[in-house]
Structures are given as C-alpha cells and as structure tokens.
C-alpha cells in the first residue's frame, strides 16, 4: 500500500509549492538578490498552478481517499495559486519599502498556499486539519511579519491565539465525528445512521465552529478586522482571498460528500449568514480606515457566500446535479471576490506609503484627480463588491440570489438584498471620497504614489478579470457546472 506515482500527481501542486518554499528557505543564506527570490516565488507559484493542471488530468482520489483531485480542487488550486502569484507581485515593492526580508516571506507564502491547496483537495479530515494548520501557522507568522510594528505583532498574536482556539474546536469536532462514524474520511460518512447520531451532530457543530472562524462568520468574525488591519497589506490581500476560499472549499466538500452535514447545517448556515451579513455591513458603515473597512466588507461577503451554502443544503436534496447551481454560485463568488479583494488591497498597500500611514479614508480624498487610473481601478473593485452589473461581483451576487430564490430562501434573499443596500452605502462612500472630495493640501502637493510594473500588472489583471467575468461568465460557469465537478 505504498504511495503510487499517481498519488503524487494528485497532490503535485502542493508538493511543488512546498518544494519551492523549501528552496527559498535554503537559498536564503546564499543569495542576496531580492529579485532572485521574487522570481523564484513567482516561478514557484506558477509552477504549482501549472501542476494543478497535471493533477486535474490525473483526476481521482489520491492516497486511498485522503485527497481528491477533481475539477473542484483544480478550481481552487488555480485560484489560490493565482492569488499567491499576484500576492508575490504585490509584496515585492512592499517588502522593499518596509525593508523586510524577502526569502522567508515568499517561503511562508508558498507554504500557506500549499496548505490552502491541501484544504481544497482534502477529502479526509485529518489531512484537512494539517492543511488548515499549514496555512494558518504560515498566516500567523505572515501577519506579524512587520516585527517592529506594534499593530502587526498584535495582529499576529490575536490571530494566533484565536485561531488556535478555534482550531481546537475544529479538532474536537473531528474527534467526535471520528468517534461516531469510525472514520475521518468524508466518503465514509454517508451512512444513514449518522443522521441520528448526536455525537456526529455535535462533531459537525464543532467543525462548523472551527471553519466558521476561518471564514469569519459572525459571531466568530471579531478577529477579522483587527487581524486584517494589523497585518502587512499584501498579507491582508492574501488572507481575504486565499484562506477564506480554502476554508469554504472544505465546507463545500463536506456539504457535497456528507449528507448528514447538509442535514444538520442548514439552519446554522441560515442564521450565520444573516448574522454575518449584518455584522459585516453594519460594522463597515462607521469605518474610516480603508483597510479596516475592507475587512468588514470581507465579513459581509462571507455572509453572502453562506447564503449560497444554505441554498446548497436545500438543493442537495435532489442530488448533486440539482445543487450544482448553488456550488457554482459559491465558486464564482469566491473567484470574483478574490480578484476584487486582491486588487483593492493591492491599491491600499501601495497607497499606504512607508509604514502604512495613509490608510484613512481622508487620504483617498481627491484620488481621482491625483491618480485617475488608480481611482478608476479601485472604483471597479468597489463596484464589483457592491454588485453592480458589468463586474464579476454582480454575477456573483446574481448567482447567489438565484440559488437562494431557487431554494425558496426568500427571506434570506431579502435580508441579503437589504444588506446589499447597506453595503452600497459604504462602498459608495469610498468612491465619493475619491471622486467628489478635493485632495488635502499636502496630498495634492506630494508627488503621486509610484505604482511599479508588478503592481500595475496585478491591477490590470484583476480589473480585466473583474470586467471579463462581469461580461462573459460563461466559460467559468461551464467549467463549474460540469457534473463531475466534485469527482463523484
């Protein structure tokens, strides 16, 4: 029962990412050129992403069902790989500006990405747990990467303490699930008996608590604003796009594979979704720090995604094919959301200036005058977050609405609608500040913030993606909606 080559194929992306991470670590004492590490990291991220194609071509369960290489994991590997690639590009000027070591950052980034990849492909809870820890522990470190910054270290501390706290719940949930089903493989949890098992129910509840924390569902969301604010902005960009997507991926896989989970989780998701939307949007209403505002907005969007989860439950009754639109809603939303958040945080990162001083909304006043293209790009992101047509965010929201309405979750849809309006207010506020207020005197006098090529590439990529998926979501959707998405 030794691992076969094909098993390696099925986890190739993670191995590649880890490999490049190790490589970066090993080279660190010997190479001084930071460009080298950037290059290495880019290649690593790309290579891993490319490797996900191979692993998708060798679709199937790996390691006797610990992982599953299918279109679903392919999608998420592509997503997190791309996110990692873009984050490297964003981080390069940031690290240089803040005078932070390169090699370690990239190594941690790649390890985190690998962890997310594991989460996305895991079909067994322990593997998932290890993946989760890989991405989490890397994240803790990355959050505190600006060691001399009080905020950064505090962010790391909070993330670490609370993250570990939540992980303990997750783990306890695994224990209970294991106890009641006798296995940790998701595929082994299909039995009818489990519908009546209290242990299993409690275990799933605990797992939901752990993962709810990771995806920042209210009332677990409290850590998010602090951590997002304190972490170095490129890392925040990673946080909002990567780990969250990975955690959702795991949730989705549990949903798809464990019938009892859909059974037990439905109302929990209903309630969490409602709470999360309101917590995020209402909290964001009063924020004046852009980074923090975007953090709250992340919470709100997690809430929207959870609406789709509630819909998944409902649709899953009629079989995987019926639930496909709801899965599609989640996946498409995560995609659009990742693009947008990444872009937005990129701009925040760049405009923050040395030591991340310019994060206040006031610093964005008159941005459209000073740096029209940047303002336009940020507007595109914000409008996408707001869910305006011609952006990917619109389709994301549209599909969620559709899933919700399909599942007769009208009230949830209505709550989401109300939240969309609340959300519109603060997104617009940023646009208003950029376009309708005049720059402060010193901001106007200061030279425009430089946007190096790498950052511009990220912006162009994300804007183009946002608009492209906003106009032609076909290809992605066709991919997502294929019946063999989840490999079984």
């Amino acid at each position: 029962m030794l691992p076969r080559v094909i098993d390696a194929h099925r986890v190739l992306p993670e191995l590649v990412w880890c490999g490049f991470g190790v490589l970066a670590m090993l080279m660190q004492p010997f190479v001084r050129s930071r460009h080298f590490f950037t290059f290495l990291a880019l290649i690593g991220a790309l290579a891993g992403t490319a490797a996900s194609v191979t692993s998708a071509m060798h679709a199937g369960p790996g390691f006797d069902g610990l992982v599953q290489s299918d279109s679903f994991s392919f999608f998420f590997r592509l997503l997190v790989g791309t996110v990692a690639f873009l984050v490297v590009l964003v981080a390069e000027p940031y690290l240089e500006r803040e005078r932070l070591p390169f090699a370690e950052f990239y190594a941690l980034l790649l390890f985190a990405t690998a962890g997310m990849g594991v989460l996305a492909s895991a079909q067994e809870l322990l593997t998932a747990f290890i993946g989760l820890e890989m991405s989490s522990i890397s994240s803790y470190i990355l959050a505190g990467y600006r060691r001399d910054s009080l905020k950064s270290s505090e962010s790391a501390m909070k993330y670490f303490l609370l993250g570990s706290f939540a992980t303990a719940f997750f783990l306890y949930g695994i224990a209970l699930v294991y106890g009641s089903s006798g296995t940790t493989k998701l595929t082994g949890m299909g039995s009818e008996e489990l519908f009546h098992s209290t242990y299993f129910e409690l275990g799933l509840a605990m797992i939901l608590i752990g993962l709810g924390f990771k995806v920042a569902a209210a009332p677990f969301q409290v850590w998010t604003p602090d951590v997002y604010e304190g972490a170095p902005t490129p890392v925040t960009a990673l946080f909002s796009a990567g780990p969250k997507a990975a955690a959702f991926a795991l949730l989705l896989r549990i949903f798809a594979t464990v019938p009892a989970a859909t059974h037990f989780w439905f109302w929990a998701f209903w309630v969490l979704a409602a709470l999360t939307m309101f917590a995020g949007n209402l909290g964001a209403l009063v924020q004046t720090n852009v980074k923090r505002l975007l953090a709250y907005s992340s919470i709100a969007h997690a809430g929207y995604i959870m609406v789709a989860f509630a819909a998944v439950t409902f649709m899953a009754r009629s079989g995987a094919a019926e639930a496909a639109p709801a899965y599609a809603a989640v996946l498409f939303y995560l995609l659009s959301y990742a693009l947008v958040k990444l872009g937005a945080f990129t701009i925040v990162s760049q405009l923050g200036g040395a030591g991340e001083k310019n994060l206040s909304l006031d610093d964005y006043a008159g941005l459209s005058q000073r740096q029209p293209w940047v303002a336009a790009a940020l507007s595109v992101y914000l409008l996408s977050l707001l869910g305006l047509p011609v952006t990917a965010g619109f389709f994301g929201k549209f599909y969620i609405f559709k899933a919700a309405v399909n599942s007769h979750l009208l009230w949830l849809a209505v709550l989401m609608a109300i939240n969309s309006v609340i959300g519109a207010y603060y997104y617009l506020r940023v646009i208003v500040v950029m376009y309708m207020r005049e720059s402060s005197a010193e901001a106007a006098a200061a030279p425009p913030v430089g946007f190096p090529l790498t950052v511009n590439f990220v912006l162009a990529f994300t804007v183009a993606g946002t608009l492209y998926f906003g106009l032609f979501p076909n290809q992605v959707l066709n991919f997502i909606l294929q019946p063999t998405l989840l490999g079984h």
């Binding site: 522990i137 505190g144 009080l150 501390m157 224990a175 294991y178 940790t184």
Partner: protein, 100 residues
C-alpha cells in the same frame, strides 16, 4: 472496564476548562497553555474513541496533533516573545491597539 463515555466526558470537561482558562487568564503564555489543555482534551477523546472502534488511527491522530501542537508552540512562543519585546507586557488586555 471503563466505559468510553467516561473518557469522552472527561475530555469534554477538560476542553471546557481549557475554554474557561482561555477566557479567564490574562497572561498570554497561560492563555496559550489553555489551548494546549484543549488540545490535550481532544487527544483524550481520540484515544478514547479509537479503543472501542478497535482502530489505531485515533492514536495516529494524536501523534499528528502533538506534532501540530509542537509547531504551534514554536510559532506561538515566537509571537509571545515578539509581543513581550514590543509591548513590554504579557497581559493580553494591554495588547489592544487594534480595535473598533
């Protein structure tokens, strides 16, 4: 023989105490220790479950958890040192720059 439930109840109590400790302790290190307590509770549950199931994988999980705990300890203590160095305190309540 000791019923498995007993172990599981004990693990629940320990887990609860861990949660309790997490909330009530102010020293970051102690808080971290309470996490370790929670992980220990989980381990107990794993082992307890593995016995009646007649499978060793529960024990294997414990090993993994211990490894992860070790890793967490390394990173966590690193972070604690960082905080202590930056803030000159280990009181978690004094580390509240980020809020609202």
């Amino acid at each position: 023989m000791v019923p498995t439930n007993y172990y599981v109840i004990l693990s629940a109590i320990l887990f609860g105490l861990g949660v309790f400790a997490f909330i009530f302790k102010r020293n970051i290190i102690t808080i971290f220790m309470s996490i370790e307590l929670m992980l220990n509770a989980v381990n107990l549950a794993f082992v307890a479950f593995s016995q009646p199931l007649g499978k060793v994988d529960g024990q294997v999980f414990v090993l993994f958890v211990i490894v992860v705990a070790a890793a967490e300890a390394a990173v966590g203590l690193g972070i604690i040192i960082l905080i202590a160095r930056n803030r000159q305190t280990l009181n978690v309540e004094r580390v509240d720059l980020l809020k609202l």
